[in-house]
């Protein structure tokens, strides 16, 4: 867990900034991505949803009706709660398999690794968020290359991550909203006290000296390192560049969000007492994430909603959602195999509805910030049928305008045979102007190529 005492911004300083008004003006240049090709889409958000999906209450009815009784997608057509309907900004994409995982024994809970990488446990490529941010330069001009967030579990472990660096290393997540605030906005808080200004100037000078020293050290190490370790050193170099942006100081004009009041969430970890606060924590993480996009602090973010069991947010669900809802789901699925229990399907749909309500909140915030049309949002679970731990037929939500590369308000059914999810990742990169027709790694190269017709 992230230790609060190590946070860079003192509570007093944060409060001082807030006292100066939430409209505190911060400045940094809005620089275009260095990517050579035109970039229609500008922001990427990836969301992991736990517990699979109850297809019975996910498939839209005729006329893209997603507001029927029990529909888990209903939050996207709920203007009363979210300010407007997002029915026309979403696509319910059916028929994807996490095929790269199926080809490499990366299935069940492990398949979360496949969602954005399009590769299994032995894959060396970055997830699409890091590919865009680092390799395609989408994060080069912003203070943070990317913002990797989670709720519940910070561990960079196989079953708990969707963001992977080039080389195949899972990236840790920030699960404490106060840490998210400090990471994304702390560098822009300015204490107007002259002594504080002098301290900041000195710290900047010292920070530059440290960066010079570490960069030299890393280069010396790189000169001796074997080829197999280059990805590791490249990642370190990227981290130094991110730190340099922070040390050198950049400016931006935006509305600074309020620092979260951490007394409202005294614990943040799964099974460490954090469960009662997960709803609030999720909301705060979402609001901070979108605000970071709005301030151009970053253009790439992922959110891993860890096992949201035992939260008691829905009194109609059992205490242990994982075991008593997801594992008890009984559905014949599209192939007619397996039992059928309507009550179990309705229970899982209620949990899905809860998670989709959080994604609706993301869309609401994006809309309020005027970012929705330029955003590519992909939300996916690691399973379709969670009782079978099946990585096949994983219902997927696409949202945002994708810079014109997505025509919303549709249910796209790719059929029961299982379309490789790599094609979705190809379409994502193409929305950002990357002219490549494949994504991911697999011993079965046939699954890597091709895109989806989303327009």
């Amino acid at each position: 867990m992230i230790r609060r005492s190590s946070l860079p911004i003192s509570r007093r300083a944060a409060l001082t900034a807030l006292g100066a008004g939430a409209a505190l003006t911060l400045l940094f240049p809005r620089t275009r991505s260095l990517h050579a090709a035109p970039v229609p889409a500008k922001y990427f958000i990836g969301v992991y949803m736990p517990h699979g999906m109850a297809r019975e209450f996910w498939v839209p009815k005729s006329g893209f009706n997603i507001a029927y009784a029990g529909s888990s997608l209903a939050p996207f057509d709920d203007a009363a709660t979210y300010g407007r309907s997002f029915r026309d900004q979403i696509v319910a994409l059916e028929g994807l398999d996490l095929t790269a995982g199926l080809r490499s024994s990366t299935v069940g809970h492990d398949a979360s690794r496949v969602i954005l990488t399009g590769s299994g446990t032995n894959g060396q490529n970055a997830s699409i968020d890091q590919f865009l941010a680092i390799e395609q330069g989408l994060g080069q001009a912003t203070p943070l290359s990317s913002l990797v967030l989670g709720v519940g579990s910070a561990a960079p472990a196989l079953q708990w991550c969707i963001s992977y660096a080039k080389g195949g290393t899972a990236l840790p997540k920030i699960i404490d909203p106060l840490a998210t605030f400090n990471h994304a906005f702390g560098q822009f808080l300015v204490d107007p006290d002259p002594a504080a200004v002098a301290r900041a100037a000195r710290e900047q000078r010292l920070g530059k000296s440290l960066l010079d020293y570490w960069t030299t050290d890393l280069a010396e190490l790189g000169a001796r390192a074997p080829q197999a370790e280059r990805d590791k050193l490249d990642q370190h170099a990227t981290a130094l560049r991110d730190l340099e942006k922070r040390v050198v100081g950049q400016t931006v004009t935006c509305k600074v969000p309020a620092a979260p009041n951490s007394t409202q969430f005294p614990s943040v970890g799964s099974y460490q007492g954090g469960e009662p606060y997960f709803d609030l924590i999720t909301n705060l993480q979402i609001d901070l994430m979108v605000q970071a996009l709005a301030c151009d602090v970053t253009r790439v973010s992922t959110l891993f909603l860890a096992d949201l069991s035992r939260t008691h947010f829905d009194s109609g669900l059992p205490e242990d959602v994982h075991t008593d809802v997801a594992h008890r789901y009984a559905s014949p699925g599209r192939n007619g195999m397996g039992g059928s229990d309507a009550a179990s399907q309705a229970r899982l749909a209620r949990q899905n509805h809860y998670t989709y309500a959080k994604i609706a909140r993301i869309l609401q915030r994006l809309s309020e910030a005027g970012l929705l049309e330029q955003t590519v949002l992909v939300a996916m679970s690691d399973m379709g049928d969670p009782a079978k731990h099946s990585s096949r037929q994983v219902p997927t939500l696409l949202a945002g305008g994708w810079g014109g590369a997505l025509r919303g308000g549709r249910h796209i059914d790719l059929g029961p045979n299982g379309t490789p999810s790599n094609r979705l990742l190809v379409s994502v990169q193409q929305a950002f102007g990357v002219e490549s027709n494949s994504y991911g790694q697999s011993t079965d190269a046939s699954i890597l190529s091709g895109s989806l017709d989303l327009t």
């Binding site: 992230i2 230790r3 005492s5 190590s6 199926l102 024994s105 299935v107 069940g108 943070l144 290359s145 990797v148 579990s153 910070a154 561990a155 960079p156 660096a165 080389g167 290393t169 840790p172 997540k173 990471h183 000078r205 010292l206 920070g207 000296s209 440290l210 020293y213 570490w214 030299t216 050290d217 190490l221 001796r224 390192a225 074997p226 080829q227 197999a228 370790e229 590791k232 050193l233 990642q235 370190h236 990227t238 981290a239 991110d242 730190l243 922070r246 099974y271 460490q272 007492g273 035992r310 242990d320 075991t323 008593d324 008890r328 195999m337 049928d385 009782a387 079978k388 731990h389 099946s390």
Partner: protein, 524 residues
């Protein structure tokens, strides 16, 4: 650890050991940069500065590979580096230059005292780099000292040097790159010292080891063993082996688990006591029995914290805190019957024969099993049935041909633990029906029918297959990755060793450290 270590040392004294290593082995590990685990980073920072830093809690958690946090997959990402930058600044703001980690001149030195600054820089970088710094490196650090002290004081100069060292790639990465020789790479003298110290004690090398490394004495496997025996006496080594056992057996997962209130209340507090129990037990076995595999599995005793006594159904503090108690009458003969293992490998509301069986078969016997989806099998969780025992609900595994292949093995071991519920509490019945703990295991080529998990532990404790798996686990921990060829070569090399060596973890660690697999790497 005195008695046990003396026995280990005595056991090797009679054999003719080469004065220097015998050259590159046929199978070698790949050269690597390994970012230290957060525990190693914290231990190194605290050794360097003499103060508690809390560094590991300030950093993102480690990635694990082959179950171990000490691994070559660790990296320096933006989040870690940013948090390290902040934490090291806080640490540097609270330096105590009166501690013995600093030269005595540092207490009163002025910012202009270059000689004292140089002494300080050398002392700090000796620890941070796990070797003596070069003259150029000292000059670079003195340059930073000057920048930090400018317009300030001596302490501020040292603070900037400390920040520089804590963020330096030379501090963050342990290298096994060596100096290339035709056909193979032998670790440099400094790398030998660094690797030995980090592997045996989780610490940077102390002065004695650094000097031995600089003199080239660690060329000798015998000298590496002698240094290892010395370091095993440190309290830091105790913490390292606690972590090794927790990660080997997967017990680190316990902190991320909950139990249904229908099974037990107050689990978070009990969880802490469960970890304490295992730590005390591991300390005892490593200190007094050199980490004997058989003692860990079937020592016939336990060390139970008071907070766990009621859970186990015994009186607290009897016969006294930290004392050994015999729980075999309550079905517990070793670490596999401790609540930490039983609760980790169980579901929230029910026992988990498959998880328990798999844990034993993969972690203690080093077997692999395909995932059901690899075989095209859809998982069907047994439905809840208040009138059936867990064992009865898992009957489908035995009748479904697609499942039986693996589950006859997995469940046969897992059922042996059925007298323990989801939290690890002893039970004699479930759903009003008596518990059946019979099961089986194929061990050392023999199919054994067993009555309960204590019988399993006793069999595992005597097993050659388990001893070989323990050796493989030591290689995985040391290498920071799985390398089947080196593991097999190391296992083969142990056939001629004494039971004290082959059957104890400390013996296995010593054998690995003195071996050529420790000292050599593949050519780049």
């Amino acid at each position: 650890m005195g008695c046990a270590l003396f026995a280990l040392c005595a056991s090797c004294g009679g054999s003719a050991e080469p004065a220097t290593d015998s050259g590159p082995p046929e199978q070698s590990l790949a050269p690597a940069l390994r970012r230290l685990s957060t525990a190693e980073l914290e231990a190194s920072a605290e050794t360097m500065l003499g103060t508690v830093t809390g560094l590991s809690a300030a950093l993102p958690p480690d990635a694990r590979q082959s179950d171990y946090s000490r691994n070559v997959a660790q990296s320096v990402d933006s989040l870690l580096l940013g948090q390290l930058f902040d934490a090291s600044r806080s640490t540097a703001e609270n330096l105590d230059l009166s501690l013995p980690q600093f030269p005595s001149c540092a207490r009163t030195a002025l910012a202009s005292d270059r000689a004292c600054a140089e002494s300080t820089v050398k002392m700090l970088s000796n620890t941070a780099f796990r070797r003596a710094p070069s003259a150029r490196e000292v000059e670079q650090l003195l340059g930073l000292f000057t920048i930090g002290a400018e317009g300030a004081d001596f302490n501020s100069g040292v603070a900037l040097v400390v920040r520089a060292l804590l963020g330096s790639p030379k501090f963050l990465y342990a290298t096994t790159l060596g100096a290339a020789t035709p056909g193979a790479t032998r670790l440099s003298n400094e790398e030998l010292g660094s690797e030995l110290s980090l592997l045996i004690s989780g610490q940077p090398p102390d002065e004695e080891l650094r000097l031995a490394a600089a003199r080239g004495e660690l060329d000798s496997g015998v000298e590496r063993e002698r240094q290892s025996l010395r370091l095993l006496h440190t309290w830091q080594a105790r913490h390292l082996y606690r972590r090794f056992v927790q990660e080997w057996l997967g017990l680190v997962g316990l902190e991320g688990l909950a139990k249904s209130s229908q099974v037990i209340t107050g689990f978070p507090e009990l969880r802490t006591a469960m970890v304490d129990e295992t730590n005390q037990f591991v300390d005892d076995v490593f200190s007094l029995q050199a980490g004997s595999v058989s003692a860990l599995l079937a020592g016939g005793y336990d060390i139970v914290p008071d907070a766990l006594a009621g859970f186990y159904g015994i009186q607290p503090t009897s016969p006294g805190p930290g004392a050994r108690v015999d729980l075999t009458g309550l079905g517990r003969v070793g670490i596999l019957q401790q609540a930490s293992f039983l609760a980790t490998f169980a579901h929230e509301s029910e026992s988990a024969p498959v998880l328990r069986g798999k844990a034993v078969l993969t972690r203690l016997m080093c077997l692999d099993f395909p995932k059901p989806t690899d075989l095209g099998v859809d998982i069907v969780f047994p439905p809840a049935d208040p009138n059936a025992t867990t064992r009865e609900r898992y009957d489908r595994h035995a009748t479904d041909g697609a499942c039986r292949g693996c589950h006859a093995t997995l469940d046969g071991v897992g059922f042996l633990f059925e007298n323990f519920d989801a939290a690890g509490k002893l039970r004699t019945s479930e759903s009003g029906r008596p518990i059946d703990t019979s099961g089986s295991v194929q061990l050392d080529g023999q199919q054994l029918a067993l009555g309960d998990s204590m019988a399993l532990s006793s069999a595992l404790a005597k097993s050659e297959q388990v001893r070989q798996c323990a050796a493989r686990q030591v290689v995985r921990f040391a290498a920071g990755k799985t390398d089947a060829l080196v593991e097999q070569a190391f296992v083969d090399s142990l056939k001629s060793k004494s039971p004290e060596r082959r059957g104890t973890f400390l013996g296995l660690f010593l054998e690995f450290v003195k071996s050529d697999w420790f000292a050599w790497r593949k050519p780049q």
